[in-house]
Amino acid sequence: MNDKYKLKDWQELPIGGVVPEGGNSADYETGTWRTNRPLWYEENCIQCLTCWVFCPEGAILLKDGTKPNGQPRKEIKEINLFHCKGCGLCAKECPVNIKGNKIAIELVKEEI
């Protein structure tokens, strides 16, 4: 746990127990839940963003890129393993995987 949010003594808690800021759950590591690690192969990826829209953790990070014809678009940058719980939705729904010739995301057992 991040020191910033370590539970304090009752005198030091914010009045009313308010949460200090919105969206701060991003500081909490849920990657430790994972038993399967997703591996993303950029060369096989068609950048359809299906995994991005379905990822419940928001663990698929995007970057600015360009289409082959030069138009701007969002592309997948990497998988955020700090948040990824290893559910496998991305690999299950990936249209490249469903087509079956290539694999764009696969899950491998996490090694301890």
Binding site: S25, Y28, H83, C87
Partner: protein, 303 residues
């Protein structure tokens, strides 16, 4: 019509690091809330349920938008109060943000406990979108039967066994109840069609007046499926016709997607909660389930 690229340009409403189960598809639509519209800012209220508990464990919050936790029964009432306050402040010139209000509840908090406050909020005509994510039981407290639980499903309060074969009786059709409120927009969506879902959210949010969306959200724990099957279970649920995708605008029905009418057994036998229906003495329940689905579609196609 926001496509995926369009949505990717905006920031989502929901941060990672929340404590929903691995593979739970509910955050798919909560992430979307701010991405579907660029005209308004969103304020959300959340009835007690999985989403509320897992997204706001002290001292963390997964919400990047203003968000209120209310009790099980009053998500509709709280958000209509907030909306009325906003209208008043706007009239007094104390606020000039353009806000839209969203209330979110699970099927327990919407079909059962929150029904009267939802009904009141819709009837009073608040500028409010109520989103129900229907996973078919009280999953947060450990899978108790709700009035959205389908026929024959085994839950902890309607367990399968020698004397019982799961939930008895028919499930409530809340979407039709909301259509009967004569509100401007009622829709049924599914988590496996993100573009269809985002269109419906956009329509509902940008509309001036009450709107209701019912979303099929499979539950990993309660449906007894693998963590990667959340979206697939919703897809098969729609393909079998169990969950029709339609919207009702000003009383006019519009079916968004005609399924392939796969046999309903495809859907129920992919889930562990219906496993006991495979035994021969439970065949009448499967037949009744299929008959109910067929009847619903027959009715829907006539509209």
């Amino acid at each position: 019509m926001p496509g995926l690229q369009e949505m990717a340009k905006k920031e989502g409403a929901f941060a990672g690091g929340h404590r929903m189960c691995a593979g739970c598809p509910v955050p798919i639509f909560t992430k979307m809330l701010t991405r579907v519209t660029d005209k308004y800012e969103i304020v959300a209220g959340n009835a007690t349920g999985c989403l509320e508990v897992a997204s706001s464990i002290f001292p963390y919050s997964a919400w990047k938008i203003p968000w209120i936790h209310t009790a099980f029964e009053n998500a509709g009432a709280s958000m209509s109060g907030v909306e009325a306050m906003y209208k008043s402040l706007k009239r007094q010139g104390k606020i000039n943000k353009k806000l839209k209000f969203v209330a979110i509840g699970g099927d327990g908090g919407t079909y059962d406990i929150g029904l009267q406050s939802l009904s009141g909020a819709m009837e009073r005509g608040h500028d409010l979108v109520y989103i129900c994510y229907d996973n078919g039981a009280y999953m947060n407290t450990g899978v108790q039967r709700s009035s959205a639980t389908p026929l024959g499903a085994s839950t902890t309060t309607s367990p399968k066994g020698k004397k019982s074969s799961g939930r008895q009786g028919k499930r409530k059709d809340l979407t039709k109840i909301m259509v009967a409120h004569n509100i401007d927009y009622v829709a049924q969506a599914s988590i496996h069609k993100p573009v269809d879902l985002s269109n419906k959210l956009k329509k509902a949010i940008e509309l001036d007046g009450p709107a209701f969306i019912n979303i099929l959200c499979p539950c990993i724990l309660g449906w007894k499926i693998n963590p990667d099957m959340g979206v697939e279970a919703a897809r098969v649920g729609v393909e079998t016709g169990f969950w029709p995708l339609y919207e009702v605008e000003n009383g006019e029905y519009n079916i968004n997607y005609k399924p392939k009418y796969r046999p309903v057994t495809d859907w129920i036998f992919m889930q562990g909660r219906f496993r006991h229906l495979k035994s021969p003495e439970n065949q009448p329940i499967v037949e009744e389930f299929q008959k109910e689905v067929d009847k619903n579609w027959e009715w829907l196609l006539k509209q």
